[in-house]
Amino acid sequence: MKTIFDFIHHLFVPKEDNNYRAKALHPDFLTYYLLIALFLTFVFKQTNLHNVLGFATDISTDKLYQLTNQVREKNGLSDLSYNERLATAAYQKAQDMFSRNYWAHYGPNGSTPWDFILRANYQYEFAGENLAKNFLFSQGVMDAWMNSSTHRDNLLKKDYSEVGFAVVNGILNGEQTTLVVQMFGKPLGSLAKKTSPIIPEAQPVQAAEKVPKPQVVEISPVPVPKTQPAILSKESSVLPFRLANITLNMNVVFLGFLMLALVLDFYFASKLNIVRIGGKNVAHFMFLGFVLIGLLFLTKGAII
């Protein structure tokens, strides 16, 4: 017990043994941290863990579905039921974005979200789409959507009765990207008998649209890109650990450890009036503090 206490003392408290500088902040220890960071970067890159396990983030369709219904319930709306055809449309939309290299509701060839929904053989009365990319957590995606009025309108639209999701990994603009596609719909029912169709014009994609009339839509196969994106299946939610969580926690723990060492070293050095050659603890602390704040933003992605 005493040995452990001495070691911790040696690690954090400046004294004669450690040349009046906490051992955790000595150049040799700092070199070890760098080597460990390099090793971890190398291991993550070489083993390609995120691709092998099929996930680079902690986003699952199950969790997104659960969160979507949670926010609807909170707002006194009925739950949406999960629709596999909408999920297929969402997956095909994500695949299309990867294969044609774009990040938008409308494709460069003029394809609309509704094309994907119809191609998945889903005849809709109302339909909508929400997109997100590069988030680390499902909750982050939902928070961002709820903070955007157009996405929020989609999530809380009472006209929808069904929803489908796709969470797909792939390369977009040369970067490893995780896309989340959420497709809403209400299957065509009573409006099928309408005789005067309303042809949808170009409008914001979050807005609900009415289909012109019931029609048979030809399902054409979506071209398979050379770099096959990996779909993050529902099963990922039951995996025993999550890479995103591990890497985020690892960063937080390391930054916390270093900040603790700086604070303790600074405290004892100022208390004992120790003067020494070395970096400024205040500056290190500020740098690490800003990085820690930056970590919060790194867990967030973009939505359209």
């Binding site: 700092l30 960071a37 960063n251 600074f266 970096g279 205040v282 740098f287 930056g294 933003f297």
Partner: protein, 93 residues
């Protein structure tokens, strides 16, 4: 705790401009990350920029204080690049 406050006041007062400069860069770093949310390459460039600035700031600060030493420079480099590599796992897996 009293010692920390006294030392901090003394240190910041003595190098107010330097710390203000570092603080501004930090705010700029956080704002940039918020602006480029979801753009991983840009996020990494912003991080690399902030880490590089931090090293340059350290050298500049110690030159002004006339306390520049190789060990000090290495300390700034090691801390900055450890953070860069650790966050790289998160930004560019």
């Amino acid at each position: 705790m009293k010692h920390i406050v006294i030392y901090l006041k003394k240190e910041v007062k003595k190098n107010l401009l330097d710390y203000l400069f570092l603080f501004t860069a930090g705010v700029f770093f956080v704002v940039s990350l918020n602006m480029f949310k979801g753009e991983r390459m840009l996020e990494f460039v912003v991080l690399l920029g902030f880490a590089s600035f931090y090293i340059v700031w350290g050298i500049y600060h110690h030159i002004l204080e006339d306390t520049l030493h190789l060990k000090t420079v290495i300390e700034y480099i090691l801390i900055a690049f450890t953070v860069v590599f650790l966050l790289k796992i998160l930004i560019l897996p």
